[in-house]
């Protein structure tokens, strides 16, 4: 299989020369990006075999072990296992694969801090607890950048009993601007030269490894990505420095290809541009939440609720468009009906949401973990945002629904990136906002007068007619009554989010067939209240039911607090807001 990114990159799972080192060959094992396992790379030189990041999957290690056996049988040499960092997806097989049991020649090498992490079987710094993985202690004989190096010696030798001597040369370089590139050079035979750079940030123990014109960069490429930035051991300041250093390496050393810990290889030219962009992004990654099991649990819950809400909203939007198209066909406006159907990109959205649902089913039966669901929702949200922006739904669909979806997706990505969604607190009169919200919900987007006035302009008239047809008068059967406060008062909250929340609660009630829908505003001391109440004549309606948690979360983002009350047959949702 040819790796498609770049023209001179390596082929997957095939032995080939290492660019820039005529004595070495490489066997890359490139995987699709996921959290189960990293890419792996086997390097073969005349005097040693190096396995970089054995990964997390037994079947992957089976194949790697078989390749190593073949070249080892042909030319017996010591086998070294270099870890770019000690995250569990890069090393887990070391703990359980037979290759590492009694394999005297497999000598593990990692940064000294990572070695300590593995010796201590630390489940937090390895991220193992996110994936509910238990670890046992692993000894790491070769420790780079350790404190035990005597500063006055240029070389030191590491001679584990099982291994031949290799020499590690200290070779730090001052890059200016107070940047010191920590570098060690591993030398065994004259031709075998491997450079190791300490580039922390993604983790405290991240190293990049250079062999010939290849730079093995571990997860540096993903260190600013949502769901990665904020992991235990992640550090913004270190990452910024490492990004500058890796750009220096790419500019000044003869690196041709970067070999990442996940996904396709990347040319050094492309990598330089990516790292430059990452540096800009990383400046903004201040005060992000720590990614730990509690974060994963909360984010997975939010993802699940949000996707249900997004799926429902998209279905309603699609239904309204199909219905309008159906009516247009009835009116023999086939062209307009086809045009309307063409505007809707909801088939693609439907497929994306079905993909999330399948994943969620696996999560429900315990085949996927919290962190997997949170990450999956991140991918799904990004896909939805891409498809959603390409549509022209804003020409026809109720702006409230469009804004709602936009906000939901944006809030998830914000949370997923480790930030809190922004609450734009401002002071406004509560009666005005609630009154406007209700009027907008219950009024068609084009009045009869609008249609009459546009009758002479065929294009505008058709557009207005379509908009009118897409509108569904959900409150026609059960109108909403509004009781403003006795004396108008101001509250401090996010007005757009509050408007969105009230509208969504009212539509939910209307959809469930609530009757006698009332909205009233009251003020008690320093608390303003919006009370939305209704009754259900159909027995067995579960409102707000399991949506209460999500409504509460949405209300928190307005700057308020939401609760539900039931008195007799009347169910009320109470939104409390700070009043002035």
């Amino acid at each position: 299989m040819r790796l498609t990114h770049g023209s001179d990159l390596l082929e997957n799972q095939r032995w080939q020369p290492v660019p820039g080192d005529e004595h070495a060959e490489i066997f890359p094992y490139i995987r699709k990006v996921d959290t189960n396992s990293s890419n792996s790379y086997i390097i073969s030189t005349p005097t040693q075999i190096i396995l970089i990041d054995p990964g997390g999957l037994m079947e992957q290690m089976d194949l790697l072990a078989s390749e190593i056996e073949k070249i080892h049988t042909a030319n017996p040499r010591p086998v070294f296992v270099y870890l770019t960092h000690t995250h569990v997806d890069h090393f887990l097989v070391i703990q359980s694969h037979p290759f590492f049991k009694g394999q005297e020649q497999a000598i593990i090498a990692a940064h000294s801090a990572g070695a300590a992490t593995l010796e201590a079987a630390d489940t937090t710094l390895t991220q193992a607890d996110l994936f509910q993985i238990k670890l046992t202690s692993t000894h790491v004989p070769i420790q780079f950048f350790g404190p035990n190096i005597e500063p006055e010696t240029e070389f030191f030798e590491i001679c584990p009993l099982e291994a031949p001597c290799i020499r590690v040369q200290e070779s730090d370089r001052n890059l200016g601007n107070q940047l010191i590139l920590k570098r060690q050079v591993v030398v065994s035979e004259p031709h075998d030269r491997i450079e190791v750079y300490h580039l922390p940030g993604h983790s405290h123990d991240s190293i990049c490894i250079r062999v010939g014109g290849l730079l093995f960069i571990g997860d540096l490429l993903f260190a600013a990505s949502p769901g990665v930035a904020g992991q235990r051991g992640w550090n913004q300041k270190d990452l910024l420095a490492s990004l500058q250093k890796v750009q220096w390496i790419l500019k000044n050393e003869d690196i041709r290809v970067c070999c990442p810990g996940h996904g396709r290889l990347i040319s050094s030219v492309s990598a330089e541009a990516v790292f430059a962009n990452m540096e800009k992004e990383t400046y903004f990654l201040t005060e992000i939440q720590e990614i730990n099991p509690e974060w994963a649990k909360q984010t997975a819950w939010y993802a699940n609720e949000l996707m249900n809400c997004v799926a429902e909203t998209f279905t309603i939007m699609a239904g309204r468009c199909y219905r309008a198209s159906h009516i247009l066909e009835e009116l023999e406006e086939t062209g307009e009906a086809e045009h309307l159907s063409g505007l809707v990109c909801l088939d693609a959205i439907d497929s994306i949401l079905a993909d999330f649902h399948r994943f969620n089913e696996e999560y429900r039966v315990g085949k996927q973990l919290d962190v997997h669901l949170a990450l999956k929702a991140g991918q799904i949200t990004a896909k939805l945002e891409a498809v959603y922006k390409t549509g022209q739904l804003d020409l026809i669909i109720d702006p409230y629904l469009l804004k709602r979806v936009e906000r939901l997706l944006s809030d998830y990505m914000t949370l997923f990136r480790g930030f809190r969604p922004t609450i734009q607190r401002e002071e406004f009169e509560l009666d005005q906002l609630v009154g406007h919200c209700i009027r907008t919900l219950v009024s068609p987007p084009c009045s009869d007068e609008d249609l009459i006035s546009l009758a002479d302009d065929e294009t505008q008239y058709r557009q207005a007619l379509v908009k009118r047809l897409v509108y569904v008068p959900v409150f026609e059967e059960n109108p909403v009554s509004f009781d403003p406060a006795e004396y108008p008062f101001n509250v401090i909250a996010d007005s757009e989010r509050l408007n969105d929340l009230i509208a969504s609660i009212l539509e939910e009630i209307a959809g469930l067939g609530g009757t006698d829908i009332r909205v009233s505003n009251t003020k008690e001391n320093s608390r303003g209240q919006v009370i939305i109440s209704t009754e259900f004549t159909v027995p067995g309606i579960d409102f707000p039911g399991e949506h209460l948690g999500f409504m509460r979360k949405e209300c928190e983002l307005t700057g308020g607090f939401l609760s539900s009350e039931k008195e007799g047959d009347v169910i009320s949702i109470v939104i409390e807001l700070p009043a002035t």
């Binding site: 799926a311 429902e312 998209f314 279905t315 309603i316 699609a318 239904g319 309204r320 199909y322 219905r323 159906h326 066909e329 909801l346 088939d347 959205i349 439907d350 497929s351 949401l353 079905a354 649902h357 569904v472 959900v474 539509e507 939910e508 209307a510 959809g511 469930l512 067939g513 067995g540 309606i541 579960d542």
Partner: protein
């Protein structure tokens, strides 16, 4: 999605189970087309075990309604769950389709 089809008083009743999403919608459309191909012109969909309907499902409903528009044809939905009823109502479909609270009500109405 699973389905079972039964025939009562000249009406083909398809009981639907599970989610009618982008994967299930084509399957439902195929089953409906097969029934119509066999000359069945009175079709009732029982939604009592449907947990979710997506836009793909809504489109199949509309497409079937279009095909069953002769004076003697009948197409209806019954036993909608809370969630499905809400989606149909908010999408404006409750005014397009005939919706019954039970299979019995539909059969009585179509006698």
């Amino acid at each position: 999605m699973d389905t079972t089809t039964s025939h009562k008083e000249g009406v083909a009743i398809i009981a639907l189970f599970g989610r009618i999403d982008t994967t299930a919608a084509p399957q439902l459309e195929k089953e409906l087309n097969t029934l119509m191909g066999e000359g069945k012109r009175k079709i009732l969909l029982n939604f009592s075990e449907v947990t979710y309907i997506s836009s793909g499902g809504l489109r199949v409903l509309l497409s079937t309604a279009k095909k069953l528009r002769s004076p003697d044809d009948k197409f209806g939905l019954c036993c909608l769950t809370q969630e499905v009823n809400k989606i149909l109502k908010l999408a404006g479909f409750t005014t397009i389709f005939t919706i019954f609270s039970s299979e019995g009500d539909a059969l009585d109405a179509w006698k």
